[in-house]
C-alpha cells in the first residue's frame, strides 16, 4: 500500500509550491499515472480521500490521467487559491 506514502509525498511537494505562491488553499491537483508506474490509481484516489482532511488540499479535486504503456508518475499541475 505504497499509495499512502506517495500521497504524503505529494502533499509535501504541493505545500512547497503553495508556500512560494502565498496560496491559501489548493483547488485542483492534476497527476499522471502510467500503466507501468506500479501505482494503482484507485488506491491512490482512496489514499488521497483519507489524507486530504485537514490539509490545504481538503477541498481540492484530484484529477488522475491514466497513461497506457508508460511509467509516468507525475505531479503535473495544481491550481492555487491566492489572496
Amino acid at each position: 500500500m505504497h499509495e499512502y506514502s506517495l500521497v504524503q509525498a505529494m502533499f509535501e511537494q504541493i505545500d512547497r509550491v503553495a508556500r512560494t505562491h502565498g496560496a491559501q488553499a489548493v483547488r485542483r491537483i492534476r497527476v499522471r499515472i502510467g500503466e507501468y508506474a506500479g501505482v494503482d490509481p484507485t488506491l491512490f484516489q482512496s489514499a488521497y480521500e483519507v489524507y486530504r482532511i485537514g490539509t490545504p488540499c481538503a477541498d481540492a479535486a484530484l484529477q488522475i490521467e491514466r497513461v497506457p504503456a508508460a511509467e509516468d508518475l507525475m505531479l503535473d499541475q495544481i491550481e492555487l487559491e491566492v489572496p
Binding site: 505504497h2 506514502s5 506500479g38 491566492v82
Partner: protein
Amino acid sequence: MCGECGCGDDKIVPVDVHERLLAGNDRVAQHNREHFREHGIVSINLMGSPGAGKTLVLEATARALGRDAKLGVLAGDLATDHDAARIRAAGIVAESITTGTACHLDADMVHHGLHHLPWQTLDYLFIENVGNLVCPAIYDLGQDANVVALSVTEGEDKPLKYPTMFRKADLVLVTKVDLLPALDVDVPAIEANLKQVMLAPAMLMISAKTGKGIDRWIQWLRGVGRPRSAACATGMGLDA
C-alpha cells in the same frame, strides 16, 4: 489570473509543477548512488516474496564471495532482526532496517541504515528489501542493479501477476531448484513469462542450499558495473 479554464475566478492560479511524485525519494537515491560510486561500492537491491529465499541467497553469497570481497547487508523487515542475525552468522556485516508497518524500503531508510555499517570499506552492499512483490519495485534506493529472487515453489505466473517488479529487474534468481523433483512446476513457462515482462530478460537457476548455480551468480555479481558481453546480457541460464 485564471486564463485557462474560463472560470473567470481571478484568485485561482494554475501552476505547472511537472515533477515526479517520487522526486524526494529520487534525490536521496541519487545521493546514495554518489556515495557508492565515490567509494567504488557495487550495490544490489534484492527483492522478492516473503520466503523466496533472499536471506539464504545472501548466506550462500557470503560463503562463496566473502573471502575475496568485503560484503555488507542492509536487511529490511517489518519487525525482528532475524535476517541480519543469520547473515552476520555467515561472517559478513549486516544491519536491520526495521520498517514497522512500511511495506518497502525507501532511499532515506537506506541512507540512515548506512550509518550503522562500515559501508565505506565495502566492495558489495546488498540491500535485502522487504518481502513483497509490489511496493519495493517503484522506489529507487541508489542501487546499481535490481535482483529479484523467485522461488520455484511460487509457480509459473508470478512474473505476469506482478509485472512492475519483474519489468525492471536486471536479474531474476530462480531459487530452490533443489525442490524441482518434488514439484509440478513448469520451468520453461517461468522463463517464457519472464521474457514477456522483463525489459532485458536474464535469469539464473540456483539452489542456495546445495550450492547449484551459485558460481554463476558470483560471476554475474563480478560483472555488475562493468560492460557485459552480449552472451551474458541475454543469457537465460536454463541449465537446471
